[in-house]
């Protein structure tokens, strides 16, 4: 039973355009959400996070949106750059937990020059 789902295994975007990566979750007890970027043969790198008390968090080219009623979050990258090509994972943390992350299955983003 996947509690965090990324339904698009891959996404291709032209350089300079917006990349939108989506994530859905089922457990309403998640209260903290994160996005990670991962290159092959490396560990994931933290990108941006959002608490459930917010609906938007922005950091440079990266913005995360949270829609709690829909149990949906998205990561927007504007403008997209070829160096953004990687696998992006969304992850969620249960309220009151030891901060174990539950990950989605990832989306491979390819930014075309």
């Amino acid at each position: 039973d996947q509690q965090v789902k990324q339904n698009s295994p891959s996404l291709s975007v032209q350089e300079g355009r917006i990349s939108i990566l989506n994530c859905d979750y089922t457990n309403s007890m998640f209260d903290y959400f994160l996005w990670y970027k991962k290159y092959p043969a490396e560990g994931p790198t933290f990108l941006i996070s959002i608490s459930s008390i917010k609906d938007k968090n922005e950091d440079g080219r990266f913005t995360v949106f949270l829609n709690k009623s829909a149990k949906h979050l998205s990561l927007h990258i504007v403008p997209s750059q070829p160096g953004d090509s990687a696998v992006y994972f969304c992850a969620a943390v249960l309220s009151g937990s030891a901060r174990q992350l539950t990950f989605g299955s990832g989306t491979q983003l390819t930014v075309l020059p």
Partner: protein, 113 residues
């Protein structure tokens, strides 16, 4: 600043052999520590986490075990490897507040032959 070290980077082991992967964190005290595994084409699955020395929580019953002999050292072990243990093993740490992200090491690629 905090750093996390994980070794070896790659490992090829025969079925039935033992395993020991080590992870150490520098620059922080009393971190939460985690072992994740990424199987080929899959997301990241939490295996073990630890909130203190000698405290280990297992998320998935399996052929592996974990130990935390020192505050900043986390070890993943197996007495007899199975083919299904092949994968990319990642150690992570976090500290501070509930809203602290996990930070990952560069991983160990384990191939069981």
């Amino acid at each position: 600043s905090q750093t996390i070290h994980q070794w070896p980077a790659t490992l090829v082991q025969p079925v039935g052999s033992p395993l020991s992967l080590e992870c150490t964190v520098e620059g922080t005290s009393n971190p939460n520590l985690y072992w994740y595994r990424q199987a080929a084409g899959r997301g990241l699955q939490l295996l073990f986490y630890s909130v203190g020395i000698g405290q280990i929580s297992s998320e998935v019953p399996q052929n592996l075990s974990a130990s935390r002999p020192q505050d900043r050292q986390f070890i993943l072990s197996s007495k007899k490897l199975l083919l299904s243990d092949s994968g990319f093993y990642l150690c992570a740490w976090c500290g501070g507040t509930h809203l602290s992200p996990l930070h990952f090491g560069n991983g160990t690629r384990l191939t069981v032959t």
